[in-house]
């Protein structure tokens, strides 16, 4: 069992369910368009060395999120 973490802490290769996005309306909307929204299952592809960008697979595609954004995406790891 893994507690709630952000996309930054999630291990590369791990899948997770998005719980919430701690960001303003603008960021929420842009992330939703890329398939990152509460309830969605995403998989972290990789992260650059901190504080680098994070790449996640979501909604059939991949998206890159800057460190500051990735930190705001709260997820729960899935086995």
């Amino acid at each position: 069992m893994q507690a709630h973490t952000s996309l930054v802490e999630l291990n590369a290769g791990q899948a997770a369910e998005v719980l919430k996005i701690r960001g303003g309306y603008g960021i929420q909307r842009r992330l939703q368009a890329l398939g990152i929204r509460p309830g969605a299952i995403v998989r972290k592809v990789s992260a650059a060395l901190r504080p680098g960008a994070v790449v996640v697979a979501a909604a059939g595609g991949q998206a890159a999120l800057g460190y500051g954004v990735a930190r705001k995406v709260i997820v729960e790891g899935r086995p």
Binding site: A12, R29, R30, A48, P51, G60, G61, A63, L65, Y67
Partner: protein, 570 residues
């Protein structure tokens, strides 16, 4: 004429569809944001003609970047929308589709990349999707042309559906429902390209791959360029054109005014394609014999990287570095485009969200990114003295680019937005599409650069003849000689740099300078002022006030860097 808009998410192939429907040539690539302004062309629907408009990509109908704002503004002006959706990513695409439907847009959906979806094991029930959306849906493959005829036939069936406006959460739940009902995915093993794509963004493997790609790209550009010059351009100019010019020279009599304009001056009784400076000698040789081979080789390599889908991954790797300069990773793409020509590089900054970012990006491109024409001349002339000097120029320009970005980030108020960007899959470039893109960019060079080069050569001769350069040289001599350690005549080349930098380097080559002096001169020339084409674009994109600030930075930094280089190399 009816107006038809092509709309869709970034990087779903709108430009490829546009090329197919109009036969017009537009640039398409494999990264979001290739189209930052709208392009229009005429297409035939049966007997009728319609105006087709290629709109920049948008994820929904609320603008976050200038390019998205353009897209939304255009929606009001269209009669029909062809909504292009990437079949490999239905969910993402329907986000915009439903928003368009809510606005009662008369539309139909083109489900692009149908072949790739099939390869990925994605099956979409087109009939079901049609009834779910209430508008026609046509599967197509824009790159090969499959399904395009069926799409055109169904344009008249475009209609507005009855869809209520939904709040964000309900909106995506509805899309989830539609996707679940119409799409089935068969699981399938990861392909080599997918594995390579994932490795390209991993910290260590990614940096290794990036270094490999950079070295290979640089090597390929040099190899193709050198080979073309050695095997084609030099023999043509030296073997065929020169004897012709010598005969013309005799006919015109050296020393006459016409001879001076057409042939230029003879060097040791011979035509010298770099130094003679006549319209038909230097005026043709610089753009066609020295620059064009490199323009070609640069765009072959860049085009391959663009269509393969490498650039967004480079953006991910460089995100941290770019943040130090007040930008995010995507901003590396305009700088890379600028290595071909600064004009498309500066246009590409439109996708950046804030005015601050656009100012920083445009300024560092103008100062630290040498265009292909300038680079070709630097290799051609400075390279003769040894690769070491060329390396000094590149190293200095890169440092100026990075340091200036860092400086601007520290002094300008505000902060840099975060990177949020989709990463397209790697795709093997279609040779036909790549060849057409290279050809378009070369044609643009021939159309826009060659006349300006000729004009430059003409003006240089006129100003020399009138003694203008001599007067200016006296006036600026203190700066040129004391600060930069250059002969005072070098100011003429700097002035011509405003017209075209390749011509300017040619003029520097004609001066008697040491390798060190030439190094200082080309570095200052690269940094100190944009050429006229870039200047106009900078003005349009930044406005007068920011252009003024940018130009001041260029003048100050080029003088500082020139003086420092002079002190080191003297």
């Amino acid at each position: 004429m009816k107006r038809i808009l092509l709309m869709g998410n970034p990087n779903v192939g709108k430009s490829a569809v546009f090329s197919r429907l109009t036969g017009a040539r537009v640039i398409s690539s494999n990264y979001p944001g290739t189209t930052v302004e709208f392009t229009q062309g005429v297409m035939n629907i049966g007997e009728e003609k319609a105006l087709l408009i290629d709109v920049p990509g948008a994820y929904d109908l609320e603008a976050t970047s200038q390019a998205e704002a353009i897209a939304i503004g255009m929606l009001r002006e269209g009669d029909v929308v062809i909504n292009v959706v990437d079949a490999t990513n239905l969910e993402r695409g329907l986000g915009l589709t439903l928003r368009l439907l809510e606005k009662k847009t008369r539309m139909l959906v083109a489900l692009n990349m149908w072949d790739e979806a099939r390869h990925k094991g994605i099956a979409i029930d087109v009939a079901k999707l049609e009834s779910a959306l209430g508008v026609p849906v046509v599967p197509i493959v824009a790159i090969s042309g499959e399904g395009i005829k069926a799409l055109v036939v169904r344009i008249p069936e475009a209609r507005a559906a009855d869809v209520p406006e939904r709040p964000e959460a309900v909106h995506w739940a509805e899309i989830g429902r539609i996707v679940a009902a119409t799409q089935s995915v068969t699981h399938r093993h990861r392909t080599f390209l997918e594995a390579l794509g994932d490795a390209s963004v991993r910290p260590f493997a990614g940096i290794f791959i990036a270094a490999l790609i950079m070295i290979a790209s640089f090597g390929a550009v040099r190899f193709i360029g050198e080979t073309l010059i050695g095997a084609l351009c030099e023999p043509l100019f030296e073997g065929l054109w020169k004897p012709l010019m010598m005969r013309l020279s005799q006919a015109l009599r050296p020393g006459s005014l016409l001879h001076g304009i057409v042939i230029g001056k003879l060097v040791d009784g011979d035509v010298d394609f770099v130094q003679s400076f006549g319209l038909l000698t230097t005026g043709l040789f610089v753009p066609l014999g020295m620059v064009l081979p490199y323009v070609f080789s640069f765009y072959v390599v860049l085009g391959f990287l663009e269509d393969f889908g490498y650039l967004p991954r480079l953006a991910v790797l460089l995100d941290t570095m770019m943040h130090r300069m007040g930008l995010h990773g995507w901003a590396i793409i305009p700088s890379l485009l600028g290595l071909g020509c600064n004009v498309p590089g500066i246009l590409a900054i439109r996708i950046l969200e804030t005015r601050r970012e656009r100012f920083i990006a445009a300024t560092i491109i103008s100062i630290g990114v040498p265009c292909a024409a300038l680079q070709a001349m630097i290799w051609g002339l400075l390279g003769r003295h040894g690769g070491r000097y060329v390396l000094i120029v590149y190293g200095t320009l890169f440092l100026a680019w990075a340091v200036l970005g860092r400086f601007l980030n520290l002094v300008l108020k505000g902060r840099s937005p975060e990177l949020i960007m989709e990463i397209p899959p790697y795709r093997l470039p279609s040779p036909r599409v790549l060849a057409r893109k290279v050809w378009m960019r070369m044609a643009a060079f021939l159309r826009e650069a060659v006349p300006v080069v000729m004009l430059g050569v003409l003006i240089v001769n006129a100003l020399y003849f009138l003694g203008v350069f001599d007067a200016v040289a006296e006036w600026t001599a203190p700066v040129m000689t004391r600060v930069l350690g250059l002969p005072k005549e070098a100011v003429a080349a700097m002035a011509v740099g405003f017209l075209r930098k390749d011509v300017a380097v040619g003029m520097l080559g004609a001066l008697d300078m040491t390798a060190g002096q030439l190094t200082v001169a080309v570095t200052v020339l690269a940094m100190f002022f944009p050429c006229i084409a870039s200047f106009v674009v900078l003005w349009k994109e930044l406005g007068w006030a920011d252009l003024g600030r940018s130009v001041l930075l260029m003048l100050a930094s080029s003088l500082a860097v020139g003086a420092a280089l002079n002190a080191v190399l003297r």
